[in-house]
């Protein structure tokens, strides 16, 4: 019924009292929002709880949504804020210190291998539980300002402009943070020496 309608039209319908329109929005964004929160706070159960809060907050505040803005950036902004609240409250926070060295699990394929050597693993091997855990562990260890950029741009596939809207900073800041985040990530998986060696070789 609402399949082809843009998000903003659905918001307008939902505001007039049609719950079906909001359910459609929920179905469209439930996975991206859960994944975003999950990558931000590193706990799936907690991510689902926060995601429910995100959708309820969105539903209760539909009347203040600016129809001239994009719904997805608005929803991700709510998700980002609630994720940060959750992390700040330490209510759901995991026992991983930001300063603590990461103890990487040694699975059949490591993140270092799949990033440094594209031929080391087929595409299917990337979607393994081990790699996902390893990536998440590294994300958890990164400062929030880098984590949110990586999650929004690299994992959720947002453009820098959209990410800038969600985070509330300039596109240039996103670009800078992204570069720094990648450098930090590489360092954490032990690829910084490869980089430097490669640079020297060049």
């Amino acid at each position: 019924m609402f399949d082809n309608r843009p998000d903003e039209a659905l918001v307008s319908i939902a505001r007039s009292g049609d719950e079906g329109a909001f359910e459609e929005l929920f179905n469209r964004y439930k996975k991206p929002i859960i994944n975003f929160i999950y990558r931000m706070i590193g706990n799936k159960e907690t991510a689902e709880e926060v995601a429910v809060e995100v959708f309820m907050k969105a539903y209760n505040n539909l009347h203040i949504f600016d129809p001239n803005k994009r719904f997805n950036t608005w929803l991700f902004t709510i998700a980002k804020n609630l994720s940060k609240n959750a992390m700040r409250d330490r209510k759901y926070f995991r026992n991983v210190s930001l300063d603590q060295d990461i103890q990487l699990e040694s699975g059949p394929v490591s993140l270092r291998d799949v990033i440094a050597d594209p031929g080391s693993a087929p595409d299917d091997a990337i979607r393994t539980k081990e790699l996902e855990r390893e990536a998440q562990a590294i994300l958890d260890s990164m400062p929030v300002k880098y984590r949110e950029v990586v999650v929004l741009c690299s994992i959720q596939g947002m453009t820098y402009k959209e990410a800038a809207e969600v985070i509330g900073c300039s596109v240039a800041s996103i670009s800078t943070r992204m570069t720094e985040a990648k450098a930090l990530f590489m360092k954490k998986i032990g690829l910084d020496d490869v980089e430097s060696k490669t640079s020297e070789g060049l």
Binding site: K44, V114, K182
Partner: protein, 451 residues
């Protein structure tokens, strides 16, 4: 390599396992959502209505604020564009150009270029020096603003030109020779100045001549034909601290300034000086359009003859070129004795008055058109035209001719004595001092009482 790693990083991150929502998530949301919906529906009706009104106002506010922002942006862009255009346009000086010329003209450009022998610049710029051969004549200027007629053996330099909008200024330096200046209505409020070695003449909306003699005595003579001119010594006279350096010269007056001297008191021009100017500048060609009729009480009758019309070929030409074509057509119509060509000629004349009206020739053309209709025995049409003259140009010195022509047509062509009398009486009441009043009195049988 760094870029490859970066791209590989993005690829790996984008393809990480996605967390699938658990059934409990769906269940939690469904229960929370139904609670929220129920809460909303449980709201009392007034609260819901006010809520909807509130939402509507918020939406409207957002839309309006968006529109206001858009409007502000569009308005700002428009204003910036217009201002920039106006600034660029107004910062361009109003450059005069050559209008008509005869004889040998040479121009040494302010940028060092030399023009002559048929190759001239489109416009004159500051610094250009224009030489007119002793046998030549040149008109330069900007139509509707000012025209300078340079006579033979004159040398003029463009000293300063200011922007097009606002209080403009045009300043020329007459190095030698004679110029006649006609500052027109389009330059009102702006400053027009001619400098010579000894004097500065500033026009106050006027027509004047400046004569800077280079041979013999270096003396500047200024003669004013219309309006006023302020004349000032170019240099402060020595030993004459209290001398009056500035004089205002009215129409029909003249003044002279010697180098390092003060302007002489304005004096009335003698008849021979008018004649001299007349001859020098061809002023006798006015008016531009003239009906060739004698100045007698019977001039309206003469008009219906029909009378010939004379159109001045004075330069710069202010009569539309269409007139030439109309006159040519009239000549052909007379030659062929072709009524349709006559009517076509009339239409051409009427279109000139309608499309390019000018108080200098409107009445003359209309009277001529009226007489032309009468020539073709189109009496009603002729009367209509003459009535139009009386109605639209009641203060013209030629309006009484039109009024009288109406009476004559009723009297002599249509045999309508009553209307003729009415027309004649109208002349006596509206134009009692006109020549036509004498004609009307005669026709009405009124004897003027002698004093």
């Amino acid at each position: 390599m760094k870029q490859e790693l970066s791209a590989r990083f993005d690829y790996i991150m984008a393809n990480l396992r996605q967390a699938e929502p658990s059934p409990s998530f769906e269940h939690n949301f469904a229960s929370r959502f139904s609670e929220a919906v129920a809460r909303r529906q449980m709201e009392p009706l007034p609260a819901r209505v006010f809520g909807k009104i509130d939402h509507f106002i918020r939406d409207l506010g957002m839309i309006l604020s968006y529109r206001r922002r858009m409007l502000a942006r569009v308005t700002a862009s428009f204003l910036i564009t217009v201002s920039a255009g106006a600034y660029i346009y107004s910062s361009q000086p109003s450059c005069p150009y050559l209008m008509s010329k005869s004889g040998d003209i040479r121009i040494i450009g302010g940028n060092g270029s030399i023009y002559g022998k048929g190759a001239y610049p489109d416009k004159l710029i500051v610094g250009d020096v224009i030489y007119v051969d002793p046998s030549g004549q040149l008109d330069l200027g900007i139509p509707d603003r000012y025209i300078i007629r340079m006579k033979g053996a004159s040398k003029l330099r463009v000293a300063s030109l200011t922007p097009r909008i606002g209080k403009g200024m045009a300043e020329f330096e007459l190095i030698e020779g004679n110029v006649l200046v006609n500052v027109e209505d389009g330059f009102k409020g702006s400053r027009f100045t001619i400098n010579t070695d000894s004097a500065t003449a500033t026009a106050l909306g006027t027509k004047f001549s400046v004569d800077a003699r280079s041979k013999g005595k270096a003396l500047t003579g200024i003669r004013v034909l219309e309006g006023k001119v302020v004349v000032k010594s170019r240099h402060h006279p020595r030993g004459m601290a209290l001398a009056r350096q500035v004089v205002t010269v009215d129409a029909g007056q003249k003044t002279e300034v010697v180098p390092d001297g003060i302007p002489s008191s304005p004096q009335r021009m003698m008849e021979d000086e008018w004649d001299e100017l007349d001859e020098l500048y061809g002023l006798g060609k006015k008016p531009h359009v003239m009906l060739l009729i004698k100045n007698t009480p019977g001039r309206a009758k003469e008009l219906l003859g029909p009378c010939p019309i004379i159109i001045s070929d004075e330069r710069p030409r202010q009569i539309p070129r269409k007139v030439d074509r109309a006159m040519l057509r009239i000549g052909q119509a007379v030659q062929d004795n072709d009524r349709s060509k006559h009517l076509e000629s009339i239409r051409m004349l009427e279109s000139i008055v309608k499309e390019e009206p000018n108080p200098k020739y409107n009445v003359q053309f209309l009277l001529y058109i009226g007489s032309y209709y009468e020539y073709l025995s189109l009496h009603e049409e002729a009367i209509k035209v003459f009535e139009g003259v009386v109605k639209d140009y009641p203060d013209s010195p030629l309006a009484s001719i039109g009024a009288c022509a109406i009476g004559i047509i009723y009297d002599e062509k249509l045999g309508d004595r009553d209307r003729a009398e009415k027309a004649y009486r109208a002349i006596l009441s509206r134009y009692p001092n006109s020549l036509e009043a004498i004609w009307a009195e005669e026709r009405l049988g009124i004897k003027k009482e002698s004093n």
